[in-house]
């Protein structure tokens, strides 16, 4: 086991030389510091941003937006919200039978008004420039190609994102005794079970999502705690410590940190089989760099490697602007009638199949 771990560390160290060597943050003079003289990272940060993790392909290797392009992005988002929040016809009728055509997690039954979506109102502003993606390596701003295993895992996840037919399709397609996606609570997604934030909000690496983008950092000389608004994930980074034994694993992994000048470097391993980062495995290894560049901004950098999933390491960076907002309690299990409805609804749909009622439309 030691041989394996040492080998992984060597590979990882080589792969991340570029990431560590290209850090551009120097020694900042006017930043808050602790009594021990270390940069004080404490505070609340709102990481919502219009900048995507991966660069849209049409940008190619264009790494930055012009100011005019950045302004256009803001305007487009502003106009989109105006459109979505325009009044509806009060005499409107019910939405369409069979679903409203929306995709994704809403499962063609539609999201609501945009009132709960908060992905920010501007792109990332970093060192006076507007990056076209959070990923900076590879140069195309996109994740490296998947390995064969990574592709298979991605294909498996894609199967779960199918249109909602309003039927027990798993019985119709695979037979009455075939396993289904709603057979028991344990096979439902971790976020649905209130166990882990989705979209890698808790990470690591910690990435923006459509809402609940606050991060709160509490710091002592020995620990740095990062509270994530989404699903109340809390990361505890042990400063100057060693990793836990490899058999001790968790969704957020095991994070240890050290100071590299004024930058806190956090090394995370010991993930379980389902880290928050999409598709990653228990061999995920993440290095993050937190640098407070001024009283209003934290510079966040990350490097990712998982040889089971990606054919090369990849890395990214973005700004964490300080916020006066407070993290509102994420009471996931309070008023959570959804989970009961999901499982109970599946039983009713299965009974429909047994009774020969293939869909409600045919009742």
């Amino acid at each position: 086991m030691e041989v394996v771990m040492r080998c992984q560390c060597q590979i990882y160290g080589i792969a991340l030389i570029g990431f560590l060597a290209t850090s551009i943050i120097g020694h900042a003079q006017n930043i808050p510091r602790t009594a021990a003289g270390k940069p004080d990272l404490s505070g609340t940060y709102d990481i919502a941003t219009l900048t995507p993790l991966e660069r849209p392909e049409h940008f190619g290797n264009k790494a930055y937006l012009t100011e005019e392009e950045a302004a256009a992005v803001e305007r487009q988002e502003f106009d989109r919200h105006l459109d979505r929040n325009a009044a509806s016809n009060p005499n409107r009728e019910a939405p369409p039978d069979g679903g409203d055509g929306s995709a994704g997690a809403s499962g063609n039954v539609g999201g609501y008004n945009t009132f709960w979506i908060d992905r920010g109102s501007s792109p990332v502003l970093l060192d006076g420039q507007y990056p076209t993606s959070i990923i900076i390596d590879p140069l195309n701003g996109r994740q490296p190609p998947l390995t064969g295993k990574g592709q298979r895992r991605a294909d498996e996840r894609a199967l779960l994102r199918r249109d909602n037919s309003g039927t027990a399709w798993w019985m119709i397609e695979n037979g009455p005794d075939a396993p289904g996606p709603y057979d028991n609570p344990e096979i439902r997604p971790l976020a649905e079970r209130c166990l882990l934030g989705f979209s890698s909000t808790g990470g690591p690496p910690m990435l923006p999502a459509l809402y609940n983008n606050l991060k709160r950092i509490v710091q002592t000389d020995e620990y740095v705690m990062i509270l994530v608004e989404m699903v109340h994930d809390a990361r505890v980074v042990r400063i100057g410590q060693q990793h836990a034994p490899s058999e001790i694993r968790g969704w957020l992994g095991d994070s240890i940190g050290y100071w590299d000048g004024d930058t806190l470097v956090v090394d995370t391993t010991n993930f379980n089989d389902t880290p928050a980062l999409r598709g990653a495995t228990r061999d995920l290894h993440v290095i993050e760099r937190f640098t407070r560049v001024d009283t209003d901004t934290l510079h966040y950098e990350f490097a990712v490697e998982d040889p089971n999933v990606w054919t090369a390491p990849w890395s990214g960076e973005y700004a964490w602007p300080a916020s006066d907002d407070r993290v509102y309690e994420y009471a996931c299990h309070e008023a959570n009638y959804s989970f009961r409805g999901i499982l109970g609804g599946a039983r009713i749909l299965e009974q429909d199949v047994r009774d020969g009622n293939i869909s409600n439309r045919e009742q």
Partner: protein, 149 residues
Amino acid sequence: MYTQSRRFLGPVLCLITAGFLAVAASTSAPVIAHHAFGAEFDPNRPILLKGPIVKVEWVNPHTWIHVEVTADDGTKEVWMVEGGTPNTLLRRGLRRDYVQPGTVVVVDGYQSKDRTARANARDLTFEDGRKFFMGSSGTGAPYDNDRRQ
């Protein structure tokens, strides 16, 4: 064709067939959420509800708004409609007491797969059609006005 569904959905004021797709798609937002709405609600049971709010459960990440609906035959039933996270609204200065019992709302969405009196609030408006919540960035809400100054 819809007789049985209409009878089951006694308080539902209207059921329509497909053909609304284009308009509906333009007013709904696919979202990545902590649970998939497709797992909870039934696309074959579209609903339209209208009535006064009787109760609000103001919990992050999901609000539940209880609406009393009167059917054509005069019977009343309280429906629960699921809304989004309240913390975004709080940060924009919209508090729980903004949602007053007695306020008449119009909700369209889809009934829960378990066929109880629950639905998602695909579109939730006052009875004059104004959006009930306008907390998102870029809406002219107080939060945005502050940020743009």
